[in-house]
Amino acid sequence: MSKTIVIDGKVIPFEDGQTIIQAATAAGVYIPHLCHNPKFTPHGSCKLCTVKVNGRNCSACTFPAAKGQTITNITKELNDDREKITQMLFVEGNHFCPSCEKTGNCNLQAVAYHLGMTDNHFPHFFENREVDASHPDVMIDHNRCIFCTLCVRASQQEDGKNVFAISGRGIEKRLVVNSPSGLLKDSDLDVNDCAAHICPTGAILIKRTGYKVPIGQRIFDHAHIDTVALAAEGASHDE
């Protein structure tokens, strides 16, 4: 008999070495997340994927699946916290969806819709953040960065480069670019790099492509993030 865990009453098989979110995704169970991407080592920072494992809060993206785990995932309590964490991310940056070219393709926005978030709950920071449009093909709008480090990890683990990093402590943290000037144009980022395409929000964008797909025909205009994520990440697990 294969090893199993239970998530919200559903029995789910797992293999040794799998995290809870890997086992869940493989079994078609969506756990909300932002900094997790099955292609890269987990980071465990956004905390959206917090689930209760035998009564204790754990990040599903980093916690190993193990025999005897009874996990709750979709509960009012957990989703309330997820909503508040999402709201925190919204107020920390400057996310003006209607004027953002990523709208409809944005994981942060889609997660917010999925969780039924209708306001920001917390006061806005209105931090003045910069835009780096120096690179010929790629731009960074720091207003939309949620510090998921997916670009950092993609650059290191997929592209074999080291273009991005996080600098600064606490609320002072910032995405920085590894180049003499600190500008993207002086880094070795290429438009075809995975790191240029991995951003879950509109912080890293490919220039001159923003409105190729009209609003109304974008990824999350017709599907919820749970189905989209399961299709994409489930397939990735199967690779």
Binding site: C46, L89, G168, I171
Partner: protein, 511 residues
């Protein structure tokens, strides 16, 4: 024969003028043609009496304090070198009630020996634990620690024996012992006192840990704010190497243990064990997710014991007298002794090592002597900046990990900070949030953003604005921080904030 005079080298005593007093005593003796031997010892932990000078007499040590340089000539006039009568004469040190009523196991030697002298250390029962350990199997050493019931004195209270056992049983060519000496909690100083007053007990504890789990390299991760401790630790380590208590083939046992001190860079969060290891590895002090546990994959990915200074410094007495000796102190699941640090608005601030089980009230009044201002003590924060504020109605709680957990409080590292009735708990709650803003590593969302927003909400509350909206918002922020934070930094900041709000609601109300 020359008379020995003890003047503490402890940094609190030094900040109160101990170096000047030591110089003045040496000069005065020279002037009078008297031969004396000045030893710079650790502090006895009675800080209101520092600088406290002791003289070795036939009857035992006689204490004088607090001594100012201007008192020195009159001390000589009063023949203090023979225990003479003087206004500052405190009698025999060992008979001072504050000290006599304590149960000093970990701090047994602090103030008695020359901190860096291996000879003195051995003459006062030092290295007996190591000697026993060298004759035991690794599993038996761990068993003594497990039997002692020792739990992590850094604050988390995790059983030390279980941690050691995990490292012992995780195969690896290289293992490490890390001493967490990043004592960043406000109102705490027991680690510093040990490192300055009896560093060899820590060195011995780490050596025993290394032999127990099969680690040949140890690091003391010392906060940069402790320059005196750094100097004393390095001198003690050098002396221990010279006496073959560190290095290769320790005391002819064929066991190896190397030890060095590494300094932090001033981040509170680097007292969190995983951020500490990142920092030791030369990286930014970011918290790692667990598992993997450090005991399995710690420093440089190797099995690592990370223990607090006091935990490690309690090991030698356990190995000397046996796990059962240590276990006989304490109550419930809290075994042994806890060096409490009395600070804040107390008449008699200092170090009090007691078996678990005394009540907070006993400590505050019998030892602390009540508030320094003479006003009633209104609130006490136990366990550092992430510990709860306790109201007077909870002062009868015994000092025991479980009893504190039952009232949603923590013993932590044993820091006790008292406040009189002039304290504004809303201001203190605001400070707690501000502390988290300042010290959050910023990795996880709830701690990074929750604390920043929490500070601003507290700012509103302190100004008594929109309380009907802001107090629920504060609770909501605290909930998310409690439930979602990666480590205790964000996860425990709600303890002081909510305990202040729940126990002292009047401070949060409109005028």
């Amino acid at each position: 024969m020359s008379i020995t005079v003890y003047v503490p080298c402890d940094s609190s005593a030094v900040s109160l003028g101990a170096n000047r007093v030591a110089d003045a005593i040496a000069q005065e003796a020279q002037k009078r043609g008297i031969e004396i031997n000045v030893v710079r010892n650790g502090s006895r932990g009675m800080y209101w009496l520092e600088p406290m000078v002791e003289v070795a007499t036939d009857k035992g040590r006689v204490a004088y304090g607090a001594v100012k340089t201007s008192d020195v000539a009159s001390l000589f006039d009063a023949d203090f070198l023979n225990g003479g009568v003087h206004a500052l004469n405190l009698g025999l040190t060992e008979e001072i009630p504050y000290l006599k009523k304590q149960q000093r196991l970990t701090f047994a030697r602090v103030g008695i020996t020359d901190p860096v002298s291996v000879e003195d250390y051995v003459a006062h029962d030092g290295y007996r634990g190591l000697k026993n350990a060298l004759s035991y199997s690794q599993a038996d050493i761990v068993k003594h620690v497990t039997d002692s019931g020792l739990r992590g004195r850094g604050g988390a209270a995790f059983p030390t024996g279980i941690k050691w056992n995990t490292v012992l049983n995780t195969p690896s060519e290289q293992k490490y012992i890390i001493c967490n000496a990043d004592e960043g909690d406000s109102g705490t100083f027991s680690d510093r006192m040990i490192m300055e007053g009896d560093p060899l007990v820590l060195i011995e504890g780490m050596t025993i840990a290394g032999i127990a789990v099969g680690a040949t390299q140890g690091y003391i991760y010392l906060r940069i704010e402790y320059p005196h401790a750094l100097e004393i630790l390095n001198a003690a380590i050098a002396n221990a190497y010279a006496a073959n208590y560190l290095g290769e083939n320790i005391q002819g046992s064929s066991k190896t243990f190397h030890l060095e001190v590494r300094q932090g860079a001033g981040a509170y969060v680097c007292g969190e064990e995983t951020a500490l290891m990142e920092s030791l590895e030369g990286k930014r002090g970011l918290v790692r997710f667990k598992p993997p546990l450090p005991a399995i994959s710690g420093l440089f990915g190797k099995p690592t014991v990370v223990n607090n200074v006091i935990s490690l410094a309690s090991v030698p007495v356990i190995l000397d007298k046996g796990g059962e000796f240590y276990r006989d102190f304490g109550m419930g699941r809290s075994r042994g002794t806890l060096p409490l640090q009395l600070a804040g608005n107390l008449k008699h601030a200092g170090l009090v090592e007691l078996a678990f089980g005394a009540t907070l009230r006993e400590v505050l009044y019998d030892f602390g002597g009540g508030s320094a201002t003479g006003k009633p003590i209104r609130a006490v924060q136990v366990g550092g900046p992430l510990g709860s504020y306790l109201p007077e109605s909870q002062f009868d709680t015994p000092l025991d990990y479980e009893a504190f957990a039952a009232i949603w409080a923590v013993l932590g590292h044993g820091g006790i900070v008292a406040f009189d009735e002039t304290v504004d708990l809303a201001q203190m709650a605001k400070y707690s949030m501000e502390f988290c803003v300042e010290e959050s590593c910023g990795k996880c969302t709830p701690c990074r953003i929750g604390s920043t927003r929490g500070y601003e909400v507290m700012d509103e509350i302190v100004a008594k604005r929109d309380l009907d909206k802001n107090i629920p918002l504060l609770r909501s922020l605290c909930d998310t921080m409690l439930n979602g934070s990666l480590c205790a930094m964000g996860g425990m900041t709600p303890y002081p904030v909510l305990s202040a709000l729940n126990h002292f609601p009047e401070d949060f109300q409109g005028r």
